[in-house]
């Protein structure tokens, strides 16, 4: 039964990856690079040695966290795209706290930055939730616009209150050592942060939250049919607000992870690095499954890290990775449309499946 449920998703994911590989091969051939050499360089740059593997896995963590935020929000029927802004807000608040936590013991300082990240993202998402719940503003619009505000606020912060004292550059000072999230000492360059354990832990938490709790049931009911949920005594508005805020918390934690778990312990312009939108793609490629999202987050992180390696070793344009990520998103959307049409031909099984597939809501039943 489970295999039958999972098979279409596995096939879609595999199909998307194969199609993306074909597109990449064509681009490489057009660039005059042999695909075999590119594969070798890509592997070397991503998992070819411990240091590179550590970098890849560490970069997968924020992607997964954003993806989990998307999954929670969409399960409650709330399609918002404010993840970049929430990543920035989480990272900025974590930075503000972290820069003043140098005197705390390591574990406390790390916890403080993580909680600050969650709080920052959740608060920023709270604006979207409030506008939706109290004013009826479409969350997709308000969250998109709040992203722009967040970018400007971050730009002001690194040129103003958070700017490093010893530099005129738009960057903060380096974070105190005690606030840096610890990394595996055995990995050269200490590129693998312990926050990699968040990959399975957070995925399981989301699975359990959505499938084993009354709260999760309420979220799913709100997202499935708000009217029916209301008749059952569930307040879909409350569920929607909670989902948006939780998703913001995940994105905020991603922001903190980007800054405190990476090898660049300072905040500067552009630290968000596209994680907010790429995280959505990670969730889409995983069919909104928290477990599969672990693998797709690693795939996307590999594209980022491998793109640099390809450029350095074979002079492949750096935009190739971005082209591939874009291709993956288009292919996922295409697959969703095709899946929707297929389901539409068998109305006895799921009448509303086609519409849902197009909206990419509830693709996964937890």
């Amino acid at each position: 039964m489970l295999m039958r449920q999972q098979l279409p998703r596995v096939l879609i994911t595999a199909g998307v990856i194969v199609a993306a590989a074909l597109i990449a091969s064509l681009i490489l051939l057009a660039s005059g690079v042999a695909p075999a050499a590119a594969v070798s360089a890509f592997w070397e740059g991503t998992f070819g040695n411990s240091a590179n593997a550590g970098t890849t896995l560490t970069q997968a963590v924020p992607l997964l966290l954003v993806a989990l935020g998307w999954i929670v929000a969409t399960r409650a029927g709330r399609l918002h795209v404010g993840y970049p802004g929430q990543v920035i807000a989480g990272g900025a608040l974590a930075t503000a706290i972290g820069l003043h936590c140098g005197g705390l013991p390591g574990p406390l300082a790390v916890l403080a930055t993580a909680l600050a990240g969650i709080a920052g993202g959740a608060l920023w998402a709270g604006l979207t939730a409030w506008l939706w719940a109290s004013r009826g503003v479409l969350e997709i619009i308000s969250s998109l616009l709040l992203n722009l505000v967040a970018v400007q606020v971050a730009a002001w912060l690194v040129r103003g209150p958070l700017q490093g004292s010893a530099s005129q550059d738009p960057q903060t000072d380096n974070f105190p050592l005690s606030t840096i999230w610890p990394s595996f000492p055995g990995v050269p360059g200490q590129t693998l942060s312990y926050d990699v354990v968040l990959l399975p832990i957070c995925a399981v938490i989301v699975v359990l939250l959505l499938s084993r709790t009354v709260f999760g049931f309420g979220l799913r009911a709100s997202g499935g049919n708000g009217e029916a949920a209301r008749w059952s005594g569930i307040d879909p508005k409350r569920g929607g607000v909670a989902a948006i805020v939780i998703s913001g918390g995940f994105a905020g934690l991603a922001g903190a992870a980007l800054l405190f778990a990476g090898t660049a312990p300072w905040m500067s312009d552009g630290f968000e690095a596209g994680v907010g939108f790429n995280g959505i793609a990670v969730a889409l490629l995983a069919g909104n499954s928290p477990i599969f999202a672990i693998l797709t987050a690693i795939v996307f992180a590999s594209l980022n890290v491998g793109g640099t390696a390809l450029q350095a070793t074979l002079d492949v344009p750096s935009s190739l990775a971005e082209v591939l990520q874009g291709a993956v998103i288009v292919l996922v959307l295409l697959a969703a449309v095709l899946a929707g049409r297929r389901r539409g031909r068998t109305p006895a099984t799921q009448p509303a499946a086609a519409t849902k597939s197009l909206a990419l809501v509830g693709t996964e039943e937890v």
């Binding site: 039964m1 489970l2 740059g45 998992f47 070819g48 040695n49 411990s50 240091a51 593997a53 550590g54 970098t55 890849t56 896995l57 997968a60 040129r159 010893a166 530099s167 005129q168 550059d169 738009p170 960057q171 380096n174 595996f184 055995g186 990995v187 050269p188 360059g189 693998l192 354990v197 990959l199 399975p200 995925a203 399981v204 699975v207 499938s211 084993r212 980007l258 990476g262 090898t263 660049a264 300072w266 500067s268 312009d269 552009g270 630290f271 690095a273 477990i291 672990i294 693998l295 690693i298 980022n304 890290v305 640099t308 390696a309 450029q311 350095a312 070793t313 002079d315 750096s318 935009s319």
Partner: protein, 364 residues
């Protein structure tokens, strides 16, 4: 689905998911540990001293390599050094690295395979600080940036653009009718701030009381943003704009060309008079000469650690007019101010030059 059946399915689903999750976690950690164990430091130690005596160079920049500005001129300098010395080879270029994580990854990749790494741009300073100590045998040349502290294998090379900016300010102030000058840059980094403060000082040499305004578009290569910013400046009465942009300068030229009255444009780094009809001249910065000089010295093992600022004395910075654009008075003024700067008769004001770092510093 009947409730008991649903529960049963849920139990099966959860029983399957937890092992799946555990397997995924195990896989991720295994992948991290199953590499060839050749860490970055180990690789670095192999990168120097190839048997053929060829000195390989890696180049990394935040902007695209063909940005018609800062990066392109810097890369031209590296290529000039290579053309002059047969044993030099530009083996890798990593461009478009905008965030710190990418910069560090790019620097590590380059350091693992090259003897010299040129980090072209102020935004790379902290990334160089992180990576350089891990590759002690690799010489890092950081362009247009200072930072708090440097490793022994890092040299920062910079152009004292503030000198150029003072001349631009003086000339623009003389030629301006509205006595409102503008400075447009991408990011508010120290080098861009130098252009602004230099223009302010240069404009102050004239008694007309010309004012200078500054705007940062957030991107050196975004033509649209540059055009909008320039149009906004022109709308407030600015009739002379210095464009501290790369490809984005096209937007400034377009705004200038479309303006109802004449708006003079001043370039930086290079002089390309054909790019727009209103270009008066350029605060030329000879990045090519700077990079050629430093890369050649690094290859010979003669480049000292610390910071080197290239100024008027070596010809690294110089104001140049477009043909036919210099009035006799403006040309005379430019020459006079330049001579006064070389002769230390004019002392650059605060923020016009980058602050001298606490470590080894040389002005050339």
């Amino acid at each position: 689905m009947p409730r008991p059946a649903y529960r049963a399915l849920e139990r099966v689903t959860m029983r399957t998911r937890i092992p799946l999750t555990s397997a995924a976690a195990a896989l991720t950690l295994t992948l991290a540990a199953c590499g060839t164990s050749s860490g970055s430091s180990a690789t670095a130690s192999d990168s120097t001293g190839p048997a053929s005596q060829t000195v390989s160079i890696g180049f990394i920049s935040q902007a695209p390599r063909n940005d018609s500005g800062f990066t392109q001129y810097g890369l031209a300098g590296v290529n000039a050094a290579i053309a002059a010395q047969k044993n030099l080879k530009l083996s890798s270029i990593v461009d478009n690295v905008s965030n710190s994580q990418e910069q560090i990854k790019g620097l590590q990749t380059l350091a693992a395979g090259n003897s010299i790494v040129v980090a072209d741009g102020a935004s790379l300073n902290k990334a160089v600080q992180v990576v350089a100590p891990k590759y002690p045998k690799v010489r890092f040349i950081l362009v247009a940036a200072h930072t708090e502290s440097f490793a022994d294998n890092v040299t920062s090379v910079d152009a004292a653009v503030g000198y150029d900016a003072i001349v631009v300010g003086a000339v623009a102030s003389t030629l301006s009718k509205s006595k409102k000058l503008g400075m447009l840059a991408g990011l508010q980094v120290p080098a861009s701030a130098s252009w602004y403060y230099g223009m302010v000082q240069g404009a102050g040499l004239d008694t007309s009381g010309a004012k200078v305004v500054q705007t940062y578009t957030g991107d050196y290569n975004d033509v649209g943003k540059a055009k909008q910013a320039a149009e906004a400046m022109i709308a407030t009465g600015v009739d002379s704009i210095l464009s501290d942009l790369d490809s984005g300068s096209q937007g400034v030229y377009q705004a200038s060309d479309a303006a109802s009255s004449t708006v003079d444009v001043y370039q930086v780094f290079g002089l390309d008079c054909k790019a727009g009809k209103n270009i008066i001249g350029s605060g030329v910065v000879n990045w090519s000469a700077i990079l050629q000089d430093s890369v050649t010295a690094a290859a010979a093992g003669n480049l000292p650690a610390g910071a080197i600022s290239y100024g008027l004395a070596k010809g690294a910075v110089k104001f140049e007019f477009c043909p036919g654009k210099a009035t006799p008075a403006a040309k005379e003024l430019a020459d006079k101010v330049t001579k006064q700067l070389i002769g230390n008769e004019i002392t650059p004001a605060a923020n016009v030059l980058l602050p001298k770092p606490s470590y080894a510093f040389a002005q050339r």
